[in-house]
Subunit: 374 residues, 2 copies
């Protein structure tokens, strides 16, 4: 797994039975110079097409290196691995169809770099890659995919569950007990760590608010909080998704202004955006009718480590039992990588994991493409 | 199959047993507007990356349409087809490694457009695509691939064979009797129809010299012929490959000059380049030691229809029995499409067709990536 934040490559060695078991986990940075190229390819309108083509193969070399390091540190051989699930590096995600040629139907697209065929040749392990294209070709958003993992391993016969991932954006998978594929609902609840991290960085020179201690020391500005919560996004019915645009500049401009004019203390700002994050999650539980039940909320992502945020969530969602995904053998930081490892297993075994209702695709498909090693 | 000449999409419905059987063949043009985009993507240094991404999916729609038309005209259903072999549209082929990031190994690349995953979703047929990447990742030229088909279906226990394809460039597959994979040699012999077509177009306003009649009416200029044959390319040991650059401007400049100054008649120019084409093929047979044996030459490509060229080849290669690939159930125009259909069959059945000695790859690999239909 390598995400759009460009922080490197995560490799999860997994074993799948009735449970998902993480055997080994390894993270590695992109080597110097690659991040800059990926940033250029992902953000520029016109790109050097030779550079793109060669980088598609260069990433395969990088993924092969990450796998080789992982196998060495886990004392495993390539032949011990049935298949690699390769997400690849997203450089374009354009799920909204647009006309390319007048007179032909509008067309959507997604592109993840890092050649699966090259990786299979270089690693000598079967590789399943390109998990989003088939969904996009059938009118889906090509996302989210992780709920398809949640459905397989985290649904319960006896309890309604919400799987909550708090990354930059927070997203939710609703798994009512005994859920069938069409019962699963997945959507972005709103901000995750994004607002908190931005303020921690700007005003406290920290990458994030460790354990939520700064926010805990502040006081919630209720007027600002209600203003935040009045955003129309929170009234939209799921499925819905959002990005950095909405929950960043729009919301922080007023905070910056209030702090600069002295009408808001910096720690109060953090307390308020942390409360906003917790409340927007609870609003989302309300939207799916989860607030009048005894539910379990299984939390992953960096936000699960923010003790104050977890306290606020517990306070505002008394109907929920909030537990970390670690309790299910799925460490937060490894969850996405584990999910794509599972998607590779599913492909090679012919198991259909696609949940078209969560992405908007018109029908179920097999996600992924298999490149075989010798 | 869709080639770099951008003349459209060929679909071959095949059945493979001990022989390759063509069940149905269908060709369709690209729809208006697509050829222009592909030309732009293939030739411009910087490309609109959104346009590239969407066109990758638009081509999948076009391939799906071509398949749908084919099935209809053949009275077949998607479920009658085991798998589609999708070559895709080559927009970059960069088999020579170059440095992308200082300090990292130089990297080669190839890219064929038309998402295999999208095509599987749209056609509801398994698709095998991306046949060149694994070879390029292992140091190969990513070409030629068709000799791997020749090896499977055209080698003989009793006779040494040369498979000769006369397209723009002419290429040769050498299949000594009872050939083992490492015995196969494949290379470009030199010009195919390229020089002939250029002169027919420039001086006779024809797309090509039908049946070689213009050339037959002319007289060979032996001085010019020997000058052509002295090109160092014909002394190089195979494997070797060439492109439009060498056998176009370089050779025609002197012809244009002689015609304009009146020292060469137009039909004599055609006779001479036709003779040159035949002789360069015979020189190639000499290079691989095929001239002192009784061999069979199986000809395909547009040049096989040039009766005068075939006559000259027969005259200059009396040791060879020259036959058309049609006699083996492989119509010239369908051969490449049939080859990629076979490569798809090979992938889904786990048959390794790769001949690394013909491409220069460091080891054998599985060529292709499988996207599954439901």
């Amino acid at each position: 797994m390598s995400g759009t934040s460009l922080d490197g490559i995560d490799v999860a060695v997994c074993r799948f039975g009735s449970k998902a078991e993480l055997v080994h986990f390894h993270s590695t940075d992109w080597r110097a110079g690659i991040r800059e190229i990926l940033m250029t390819l992902a953000t520029q309108h016109e790109v050097d097409f030779d550079l793109f083509s060669r980088t598609h193969f260069l990433l395969a070399q990088e993924y092969a290196r990450a796998i080789s390091e992982t196998l060495e540190s886990a004392a495993l051989k390539a032949r011990d691995i049935r298949a690699v699930g390769l997400h690849g590096q997203t450089v374009r995600h354009l799920p909204k169809p647009e006309t390319v040629v007048a007179g032909l139907p509008p067309v959507a697209a997604t592109f993840q770099m890092g050649s699966g065929s090259a990786l299979a040749a270089l690693s000598n392990i079967d590789v399943v890659s390109d998990f989003r294209s088939a969904d996009v070709a059938l009118g889906g958003q090509g996302a989210p995919l992780v709920p398809m993992f949640d459905y397989e391993f985290l649904r319960s016969d006896s309890v309604d569950r919400v799987i909550l991932n708090i990354g930059g954006i927070a997203n939710i998978t609703w798994l009512p007990k005994n859920a069938r594929p069409d019962d699963v609902i997945a959507f972005d609840s709103g901000p995750g760590n994004m607002l908190i991290d931005s303020l921690a960085k700007k005003y406290f020179a920290r990458g994030f608010d460790k354990d939520g201690e700064i926010a805990r020391s502040g006081k919630i500005d209720n007027t600002l909080l209600e203003q935040f919560l009045s955003d129309p996004y929170f009234k939209l019915s799921p499925p819905k998704s959002t990005g950095r645009e909405l929950f960043s500049e729009n919301f922080l401009a007023i905070v910056y202004q209030k702090i600069s004019e002295g009408s808001l203390r910096k720690e109060d700002a953090l307390a308020t955006v942390t409360e906003f994050t917790a409340r927007s999650i609870v609003e989302s539980l309300n939207l799916i009718g989860a607030t009048d039940k005894r539910i379990e909320v299984i939390v992953s992502g960096g936000g699960a480590m923010n003790a104050y945020l977890m306290d606020r969530l517990n306070e505002k969602a008394p109907f929920a039992r909030i537990v970390s995904s670690d309790a299910f053998g799925i460490p937060s930081k490894a969850k996405e990588a584990i999910a794509f490892a599972y998607f590779a297993k599913a492909f090679v075994e012919g198991i259909v994991i696609h949940l078209p209702k969560t992405t908007g695709a018109t029908q179920r498909v097999m996600l992924g493409s298999l490149s075989r090693a010798m």
